[in-house]
C-alpha cells in the first residue's frame, strides 16, 4: 500500500515537474489546489508541533497560516508536511512543498548552491549550549573535553567544530538524528552538553520535568538568521510569500493587530501606512497577484508578528523567550521590515 502510494506520488511529481514549464506559477497552482503545502519540522515545541488536539500550532505554523489566509482566504487551508533536517530542501525542490518555514538558517550556499530563494528573517537565532546546573559550568570556554550531544541535520556540527578548534579545546561529539533521542541521551548523562539553536534549546528545556535544573550558557557561537524559503525561479510566488512576512512585521510596527485590523479595513483612517496595508489606499495586493484584502486576511488569521511571537514562544509560554534581537528596530531589536508603499 505504502509502496503504491509512494509510486503514485513520485509519478505525480514526475509528471508535474516534467511539464513544469507549461503550467502556471506556484501561486496559480496553490489557488487551483485550494491548499498550501507548507514544509515544517517534525516537531519543535513552540515553533511547529501538533497540539493536544492534533492541530498544528507554533510560531512557524502561524506564518504558514497567514500565507494561506492571504492567498486562499482561509488560514486553515494548509497541509503541513513534516520534514527532518535532511529531507526539507528535497521536499521543497521536488515541488511537494510550496513554502518552507522550518527553523532554517539562511546561508550563502543554501541560497545559491541549493537553489532556494530566502524571503527574509522571521527569527534571529544563534547556536548555544545547555548544561545541567549541577555541573557548575558557567561559560562555554570551560567545556574542554566534554561530551556534546548534537541534533544532526543542521549547520550545528560545523559551528561546533569551528568554535572548539578556534578555542583550542577538544570534545566528543554525539550526533543524533532526532531531538527526542538527543534529549534522552542528554538527560541520561550520556552527554554533558546539548547544543542546537538557542531557541531550540529553550523549546527542549520547556518540555523537561524540571526546566530550572538546566541553564543555557551565555555564549552564542553562531549567527543563525532563521527564515522561510521557496524554490528559486518563481519570482511572483517569492514576492507573495516575502510580503506576507514583511506585512506581519510592519503591522506590529504600525500597531495593526488581530483585534483592530477589521475596523481599520472598514474605513480609511489618518495613518497612511495602515491604509496601504489594509487596502483602503492604493492597490498593493494586485501587484503580487492578490486582491486588496490580502494583508487584512493574513493579520486577522494569526495577528501581527508580535502577537504570533508572544502566543507561541514569548515570555509567558513554556519556552519563555524574550524578544531580544527579535524586537522591532524602534524597540532596540533589529527587526526592520521594508515599508509597504
Amino acid at each position: 500500500m505504502k509502496l503504491f502510494k509512494t509510486l503514485a506520488v513520485s509519478a505525480a511529481v514526475a509528471l508535474a515537474s516534467t511539464s513544469g514549464a507549461a503550467t502556471a506559477g506556484t501561486l496559480q497552482d496553490v489557488q487551483a489546489r485550494g491548499e498550501l503545502n507548507c514544509v515544517v519540522t517534525t516537531g519543535v515545541a513552540g515553533f511547529a508541533a501538533p497540539d493536544d488536539a492534533g492541530r498544528w500550532a507554533g510560531f512557524d505554523v502561524d506564518f504558514c497560516r497567514a500565507t494561506a489566509a492571504a492567498v486562499l482566504g482561509d488560514g486553515n487551508k494548509v497541509k503541513f508536511i513534516p520534514t527532518t533536517g535532511k529531507t526539507r530542501f528535497t521536499v521543497l525542490n521536488s515541488g511537494e512543498g510550496d513554502l518552507l518555514y522550518r527553523n532554517t538558517t539562511i546561508t550563502m550556499s543554501r541560497d545559491a548552491d541549493l537553489k532556494l530563494t530566502f524571503l527574509g528573517v522571521n527569527y534571529y537565532d544563534g547556536q548555544g549550549f545547555m548544561v545541567p546546573k549541577a555541573l557548575g559550568v558557567t561559560s562555554a570556554k570551560e567545556l574542554d573535553g566534554a561530551s556534546i550531544c548534537i541534533q544532526t541535520g543542521t549547520t550545528t556540527e560545523l559551528n561546533l567544530a569551528d568554535y572548539f578548534r578556534a578555542n583550542n579545546m577538544s570534545y566528543e561529539p554525539v550526533a543524533i538524528e532526532t531531538n527526542e533521542e538527543g534529549q534522552v541521551n542528554y538527560l541520561a548523562g550520556r552527554c554533558d552538553v546539548y547544543t542546537t539553536d538557542a531557541s531550540g534549546l529553550a523549546s527542549t528545556r520547556g518540555t523537561f520535568d524540571s526546566p530550572n535544573a538546566h541553564i543555557i550558557l551565555p555564549e552564542i557561537i553562531s549567527k543563525e538568521p532563521l527564515g522561510p524559503a521557496v524554490r528559486q525561479g518563481d519570482d511572483q510566488w517569492a514576492d507573495v510569500t516575502r510580503w506576507v512576512l514583511n506585512v506581519l512585521i510592519a503591522a506590529e510596527e504600525a500597531g495593526l493587530t488581530q483585534g483592530n485590523v477589521a475596523g481599520h479595513a472598514a474605513k480609511a483612517g489618518n495613518n497612511v501606512d495602515i491604509n496601504r496595508m489594509v487596502g483602503t489606499e492604493g492597490d498593493f495586493g494586485s501587484m503580487i497577484g492578490l486582491d486588496k484584502q490580502w494583508a487584512v486576511r493574513a493579520i486577522s488569521a494569526v495577528g501581527n508578528y508580535g502577537e504570533i511571537f508572544e502566543r507561541n514562544i514569548g515570555v509567558n509560554t513554556g519556552l519563555g523567550l524574550a524578544r531580544g534581537l527579535n524586537a522591532q528596530w524602534t524597540n532596540g531589536g533589529i527587526l526592520y521590515s521594508p515599508p509597504v508603499r
Partner: protein
Amino acid sequence: MAATETSSSNPSLFYRLFFDKELRSVTIQVITMALIFAFFFFIVNNAITNLEAIGKGYSFSFLWDASNYDINQTLIEYNSRSPHWRAAVVGLINTLLVAVAGIILSTIVGFLLGVLRLSSNWLINRVVYVYIEYVRNVPVLLHILLVHGIVVNTLPIPKNALMAFEGTLFLTNRGFYTPKPLFEPAMWAVLIAFVIGVGFTIWFKGYAKKIQDATGKIYPVLWISLGAILLFPIIVFFLAGLPVNFEYPELKGFNFKGGLVLRPEFVALWLALSLYTAAFIAEIVRAGIQAISHGQTEAAFALGIKPSRTMSLVIIPQALRVIIPPLSSQYLNITKNSSLAIAIGYMDIVATIGGISLNQTGREMECMTIVLAIYLAFSLMISAFMNWYNKRMKLVER
C-alpha cells in the same frame, strides 16, 4: 498440438506472435522487458532533467572540500579539517567494524542457541524457544533503542564509574574503558612466532592427512595446531621479557582520557544486531541439523565411529549444506540493518557521508549514490564469499 495446427493454418506472423503458444511467451517477455527499460529510462531521465532544471549539477568535487565536522569514533586519523571523502572512509570503517563484529557474535550465539533448541532438556529447550520467538517478532530498531536505553540509563556517569579488576576496567554510560597496550619493539619477535606457528599448522595439517591416508594413524591435529598458533607465541612473549606497557584510562575533567574505549553506541548496536540475527541463525541451524536423517547417525555408529567424529564428519558437513545459503542472507541482513545506527548516534556510513556531509553540502543525489554503491559492493562481497564457501561444502559426488 494446437500450436502447430494454428501456425500451419494461419501463416500471418502478427497473428502468430500473439496466438502461437511458443511465440506468445517470447512476445510477452520482450514486451515486459521493454516496459521495464522504459520505466527506468523515464525515472533516470526525469531525475536528470529536473536536476538540470533547477540548476543543480551532478558532481563529486565536494568530496575534496573540508568536512567541517568531528566524529567521535575514528579508527583512522581524522579531524574537522579532513575532506568529506575521509569522513566517508571513517564511516565505512565503522560500518565494517560493526558488521564484522556482529557477524562473528551472531554466528557464535546463533549456533549455540540452535543446538540448545534441540536439547532434550525441557527447560533449556523452552527457554531458548521463548527467547527466539520474542526476539524474532520485535523489529530490530526497537531492540537497538532498548539496548542503548539500558546502557545509557543504567550505567553511571564517568564521575561515579563502576570499577572492575582493580582499575583496569571502568564501566560508564559513555563507554567501557580498558588499558591500552603499547607495544615495545621486542613485540616483533612475538608476531614472527605467530606467523611461524600458522605456517607450521598449515604444513602439519597436510602432513597429518598424508600419514592418515597412508597408514590410518590419526594425529591430534587440533591440539598441536593450537599449541603452535597460541602457546608458541605466548612462550616467546615471556622469553622476550613481557614487551608491553599499558596506558591506563584516567578521569580528567568531564571524561576518561587514555586507554581503549568501547562507546555505548557501538555496544548497543553490536549487541542488538547480533542478538537479533542470532535468533534467525538459531532457527537456520536447527533446520539444518534436523534435515539430516537419524539413519545417518545410526549408520555411523554401526561402523564404530565415535559420537564426536560422527558429529564432525557426518552430521555437520551435511547440515552445513542446508545452513549456508540462508546463513548468507542473515549476514547480508546484519550488514544492511547496521544502517539503523543513526537512530542512536553511531557514526556509520549513513551518518557520515549520507547524513552530515549530505546536509552540509546539499548533494543528496551524490551522497546517496555513494552510500548505495558501498552497501551494494559490501553485500556482493559477502555473497561472493558465501557462494565460494557453499561450493566448497557442496556434496561432491564421486
